[in-house]
Amino acid sequence: MSVLPTTGVPTTGPQRSITTPHSAGNRLGERIIRRLLRTCAIVSVLTTIGIVAVLLSESLKFFGEVSVFEFLTGAQWTPLFSPPHFGVLPLVCGTMLVTGGAILIAGPIGLGTAIYLSEYAPPVVREIIKPVLEVLAGIPSVVYGVVAVTTVSPIVQRLFGSESIFNALSASIVVGFMILPMIVSLSEDVLRSVPRDLRSAAYALGATKLDVTTRVVVPAALSGIVAAVLLAISRAIGETMAVTLAAGATPNLTLNPLESVQTMTAYIVQVSKGDTPTGSIEYRTIFAVGLTLFCITMSLNIIAQWVLKRMREQYE
């Protein structure tokens, strides 16, 4: 009986070596794939840098003619009339009015849905509600806009006596429903990630389901819920199509949701689609407004990420 295995390296023949004539790390296929993937990753980085660069350079030209102070504190926004006023506050106010209303609608409904799904709903119900929410998230925003103008606005007009068919309230309502799926799915995730040990501990202390939910699960998930709402706010602020259709095109420094307002995004659409000559100061306003918008949403996203990160640290 042979002691050596019959398969394997033949004892005669050329000596095997782990070194190759060409360097192993430089196999052609490997090299191509690596370059290709790196190019893909660089594209998004370059795009971001490019957009920020354009925003900054055009805005700088704008701020060469209009002072930052006037831009940020002026209460009148009439760049297309003469004499022009470049106070961005009416646009910011319009955006905040629509966004605030949207959060007032989507926050409670979304949080309620998330708590129901994670704590109370039997699996069957969850299997139904979650896909429905995904459908809601998949509806194009222009459809929301049309629904706002044709269906929601007339109802708002009749119920609250709004003068215009374009009003902040109907925009708030549709934007609220647009961001609802986002709030639900993000908060449900954080609620479900609260360790089961904590629930057991609370039940063992004689807590009812309501006690466990309101005094243990929601507080433990609070920072995650806050982050979800911040991300939803950021989405609502950046929302364009629905508010352009529903809120109107009247820069208006008001807190009355029944009036027609113009949001920052809607203004940008108006000017981009209009006949404003390229390179004029009116044209450059859209970059200044765009930069303002970008700064607001970016800081919200950064804050949200920071809050989420802190929450994760808490449990590790």
């Binding site: 904590l198 057991s200 063992a204 202390l205 807590a207 009812t208 433990a220």
Partner: protein, 318 residues
């Protein structure tokens, strides 16, 4: 609940030998194991370790144990996870103001049994219980039993310390708060009393508002014990309370158990037989869902009636 899942899967894996048992599951199973353990120790016999009894902490004497009223009385308890039976005809009395230890290998059903005593198994979807559990003569499973009231009287400490991500004070105050206590001064009184009882007061008295998660593992577990004491329970169930702790913290928990038994009825699940011998007055040995033997701890450890118990406590299997 992690333990639970693990135990559950282990008992599922054990199903085939169990199916053999039809008429008298206890006997069939015992012969099987004895055979198994004999083959396992075919080599030179391991020396039999004498259990370590701590003379500084005397256990209840046999007379005391026999004289103690049964705080919890269990009879003919069967427990099922779906189609798998996890506990078979358990019959056991848990004497008042004594420490009862449940020992046995993983998956033997001791944790499942512990959770039956405060109905924590209710939360498992396809679990089913048959039989009678009496707390002070009152059935735990009657139609009008309020689980919330039951759990206030039968507190629980888990294997993994699980403080709420709140302050130390808020952790203790949770139980009294859900029970309706609103007075802050009263809550502080309760917190001080329970933390002192759990031998944690001196370490945390100056930082009651700090997060409980900043405490060490041993401190967290003592906090969980203090938290369980805050609802003023009569029975304290402990599911391997020291298994995740270092020896020094374990010793502190054991000292604590010894002190607490003057006031509370304590049931402790443990993998560590030395620990059972050190802290308990009565020991119950579980194997494959069957209560093999229960009795005074020094009796079980020095003179077990069943061969299977002897094999387990001398370390021949499990």
């Amino acid at each position: 609940m992690v333990t639970h899942g693990a135990e559950r899967s282990i008992s599922l894996a054990d199903t085939p030998p169990r199916r053999v048992a039809t008429t008298d599951p206890r006997q069939t199973r015992m012969t099987e194991t004895t055979a198994a353990s004999r083959t396992e120790t075919a080599g030179p016999l391991r020396s039999i370790r004498p259990p370590a009894f701590d003379s500084a902490r005397p256990a209840r004497s046999a007379d005391e144990l026999a004289g103690a009223a049964a705080k919890i009385a269990v009879s003919d308890l069967n427990f099922f996870y779906g189609a798998n039976q996890a506990l078979h005809d358990i019959k056991l009395a848990i004497p008042e103001r004594c420490v009862t230890a449940f020992i046995g290998p993983s998956g033997c059903g001791k944790s499942t049994f512990l959770r039956c005593l405060n109905r924590m198994n209710d939360m498992i979807d396809d679990a089913r219980v048959e039989g009678e559990i009496l707390l002070d003569g009152e059935s735990l499973r009657g139609p009008r039993v309020d689980v919330v009231e039951l759990r206030k009287r039968v507190g629980m400490v888990f294997q993994k310390s699980n403080p709420f991500p709140k302050s130390i004070f808020e952790n203790i105050a949770y139980g009294p708060r859900v029970a309706g206590e609103r007075n802050k001064a009263r809550l502080y009184e309760i917190a001080e009393r329970c933390l002192q009882h759990a031998a944690l007061w001196d370490e945390v008295k100056d930082r009651l508002e700090d997060s409980a998660l900043a405490l060490s593992g041993g401190q967290q577990q003592r906090l969980c014990i203090a938290r369980a004491l805050a609802t003023d329970p009569e029975v304290l169930l402990m599911d391997e309370p020291a298994s995740a702790l270092d020896p020094a913290s374990t010793a502190r928990i054991e000292d604590l158990i010894f002190e607490l038994k003057d006031k509370y009825t304590i049931v402790i699940v443990t993998h560590n037989m030395q620990q059972a011998a050190r802290v308990s007055d009565q020991t119950a040995f579980f194997f494959q869902g069957v209560l093999v033997e229960a009795g005074a701890t020094n009796e079980i450890f020095t003179n077990p009636a069943k061969k299977q118990t002897e094999d387990y406590i001398t370390g021949r299997f499990g």
